[in-house]
């Protein structure tokens, strides 16, 4: 498992990001994106630092973090696999693909494998509706999923 940085270290690294971005108009989302990129999730210890710098309450920051699906409260696995579950992919059998993947990985949606190798998430549209069913593995797009491509994905996340 990855080591969790100590709270003072989180505060320090957060402060650097906040300082860099707080001059933007409406800086909160860019700051949270920056923090997630830095830590892989938005640690609880980062919230008071942001709140103080932007002169808003910790509750407001918490409210924003929890509103958006993207911000993680806990670290994800080494790989993040997003599987599209929206209508265009449904029409090409994404249900079946999801069931197979869950079985192959031994986890459900919003879960991380015990060995920390991969986190599986549903996503509602990747804009790849003309090559459904589709997925995104660590930011790389994959279209027309089939058994062969699922095997490649499994091999990749286990390597």
């Amino acid at each position: 498992m990855t080591m969790q940085p100590a709270s003072t270290e989180i505060a320090l690294r957060t402060a650097v990001i906040v300082q860099e971005l707080k001059g933007l108009e409406g800086p909160l989302l860019p700051i949270l994106h920056g923090i997630q990129e830095e830590f892989g999730h938005v640690p609880q210890d980062a919230l008071p630092v942001i709140a103080e710098a932007l002169n808003i309450s910790k509750a407001e920051v918490h409210g924003v973090v929890t509103f958006y699906h993207d911000y993680r409260r806990h670290p994800a696995g080494r790989h993040v696999l997003k599987l599209c579950q929206a209508e265009a992919c449904q029409s090409m059998g994404s249900d079946l693909i999801a069931a197979k993947l869950k079985q192959l990985l031994g986890i459900g949606f919003h879960e991380t494998a015990r060995d920390g190798s991969v986190t599986l998430e549903p996503v509602y549209c990747l804009g790849l509706c003309a090559c459904a069913p589709s997925a995104m593995l660590d930011g790389e797009v994959i279209g027309r999923l089939n058994d062969e491509k699922l095997d490649e994905i499994i091999a990749e996340v286990r390597s």
Binding site: L24, E25, G26, P27, L28, L29, P30, L32, H33, L54, E60, G63, V64, F67, Y68, H69, D70, Y71, K82, A86, E87, A88, C89, Q90, S91, M92, V123, Y124, C125, L126, G127, L128, C129, A130, C131, A132, S134, M136, G139, E140, V141, I142, G143, R144
Partner: protein, 518 residues
């Protein structure tokens, strides 16, 4: 002249292996000691041919596709650099029937040019609209856009010129142009394609909007599910700024306009304009009640034009060729062209830009070629997750805002998802409710609670528990959501649910009660 090879860098093409093809081409070039320039163009939108590789020859461009990495060696052996024949040979790309029959105004350059070359953009007619706009008064620019008949391509279909005029007529110390690039509707990818394939057209359109309304700052809010589009737009804004297209003196004129790219955080509801504004301000993406209109009090309380990507990207051609030229295309009150996105279970999926007025049947059967599985088409969902399911019986509906509304549907962002006869419409109706419950911003009760109750009612229906009662209940619930919700998420979720129920009633009675013997 060194050979020029076009390999799309569009996400859709990448999802089908374009990067591996590019790698193979580079390796082959190195092996054979050939010097060539590889251009990562956008996609022309014929996704059944992607990755589609093109070469520039003295007889014009020649396309090959769909190319697999394993085809690359034999392509070189067949002399593809000079347009030689190969089993993947498609000939001139603009002669491919799917592409030849289109009317490309907004997407004229997409897939043709190098997305990040401003010179290339200018050589293909770019910036002419902006040059015309800087020489005109703001009011004249607004009246051109109004005159063209352009309506919001995000789905609502509100006249773009009227929106601009409201902002122009409102006095404020600061005004904003916000581009809604939170394209979350399943079955739609036009925004993504244009941002990846022709980003300068969007920058040009936003800049014209700024000059026309007196706004000096723009934001492009792109969903986080589109990392490639984000990267291309960021680079393009940087290039435009360096070239003097953005900044203090736009194209040497006294106008100031600059813009920033912002990234969403995975909330579908932020595609709704007022929640997008709240999100940009750094708040929870909750819907605002209207009035006040964003045109009066929008981003940070200032007058704001908020338009969809395609609306803004259609402005340069209007300002270049004139309102009358654009208005000449289309039917009724739907003027100009619309990039129709044909997706899902369909033989020829892709983007098809055409004048309004084609029938749904022509789009699905003639252009789309029916289903990919070869089974009969059962239903098509038009306009994303909040759009109605249309049966074959309604295939004579022309693609037009009013015609679709008259059939209890909407064209939305013009995405069409095709389903074959294996689709279970009760399941699709349930998904519509479930999706609404996942993505509801929580501000209004009909959407927040109604969607959850909707899932429960449809689950009881699937278990055949007092089916008639459940159907009456879901109908009543849909009525409440339609008229009681603050925005289109709760207000339009009834479209897929009720259309599925009305057009496919058999699917809502899963286990028919056996008739009693006389």
């Amino acid at each position: 002249m060194i050979p020029r090879i076009y390999i799309p860098g569009d996400s859709g093409a990448l999802a089908l292996g374009a990067e591996k093809v590019a790698k193979a081409v580079r390796a082959e070039l190195a092996d054979r000691g050939i010097e060539a320039k590889i251009v990562r163009n956008g996609s022309r939108g014929a996704y059944f041919l992607e990755p589609m590789v093109e070469v520039a020859t003295d007889k014009g461009r020649i396309a090959y596709g769909p190319v697999k990495p394993s085809d690359v060696k034999s392509l070189f052996d067949s002399g593809f650099l000079t347009g030689g024949y190969h089993k993947r040979w498609l000939g001139a790309p603009d002669k491919i029937p799917f592409l030849a029959k289109q009317t490309r105004l907004t997407f004229a350059r997409c897939g043709v040019t190098d997305p990040l070359s401003l010179d290339n953009y200018k050589a293909h007619g770019g910036l002419k609209g902006l040059q015309n706009a800087v020489a005109m008064t703001p009011a004249d620019v607004v009246s051109q856009v109004t005159e063209s008949g352009l309506r919001g391509r995000g789905g609502a279909g509100f006249p773009t010129g009227i929106k601009w005029k409201t902002v122009l007529d409102t006095t404020a110390d600061r005004k904003y142009i916000v581009c809604n690039a939170d394209e979350g509707d399943s079955g739609t990818f036009a925004d993504r394609m244009i941002m990846e394939g022709d980003p300068f057209v969007l920058i040009e359109g936003m800049t014209i909007a700024g000059i026309a309304t007196g706004a000096t700052k723009g934001f492009i809010y792109i969903r986080s599910e589109y990392p490639h589009a984000v990267a291309v737009m960021q680079k393009a804004v940087e290039i435009a700024r360096k070239a003097g297209l953005l900044g203090l003196n736009v194209l040497g004129s006294p106008n100031t306009f600059d813009m920033e790219v912002r990234v969403g955080a995975g909330a579908y509801v932020c595609g709704e304009e007022t929640s997008l504004l709240d999100s940009l301000e750094g708040k929870r993406g909750q819907v605002r009640p209207k009035p006040p209109l964003p045109a009066h009090k929008g981003l940070f309380g200032k007058p704001t034009v908020i338009n969809n990507v395609i609306s803004l990207a259609s402005v340069p051609v209007i300002m270049d060729k004139g309102a009358a030229f654009y208005k000449d295309f289309g039917m009724g009150r739907s003027r100009g062209t619309i990039p129709i996105q044909i997706a899902g279970n369909v033989k020829y999926p892709g983007l098809y830009e055409a004048a309004f007025g084609m029938t749904l049947g022509e789009i699905v059967d003639d252009i789309g070629g029916g289903t990919a599985t070869g089974c009969p088409v059962k239903a098509v969902q038009v306009g994303g997750p909040l759009g109605a399911y249309f049966p074959r019986a309604l295939f004579d509906t022309p693609f037009d805002y009013e015609a679709f509304a008259a059939k209890d549907g909407l064209i939305g962002h013009a995405g069409i998802v095709v389903f074959d006869d294996s689709a279970d419409m009760l399941k699709q109706a349930r998904f519509a409710m479930e999706f609404c419950s996942i993505e509801s911003c929580g501000k209004c009760t009909p959407c927040r609670i109604g969607s959850t109750r909707g899932v429960e009612v449809l689950d009881r229906l699937a278990q055949n528990i007092e089916p008639e009662k459940q159907i009456a209940l879901v109908t009543d619930l849909c009525n409440t959501m339609k008229f009681g919700s603050l925005c289109a998420l709760g207000g339009f979720t009834p479209y897929p649910v009720m259309s599925a129920l009305n057009h496919f009633p058999d699917d809502f009675r899963p286990t028919p009660v056996a008739e009693a013997a006389e």
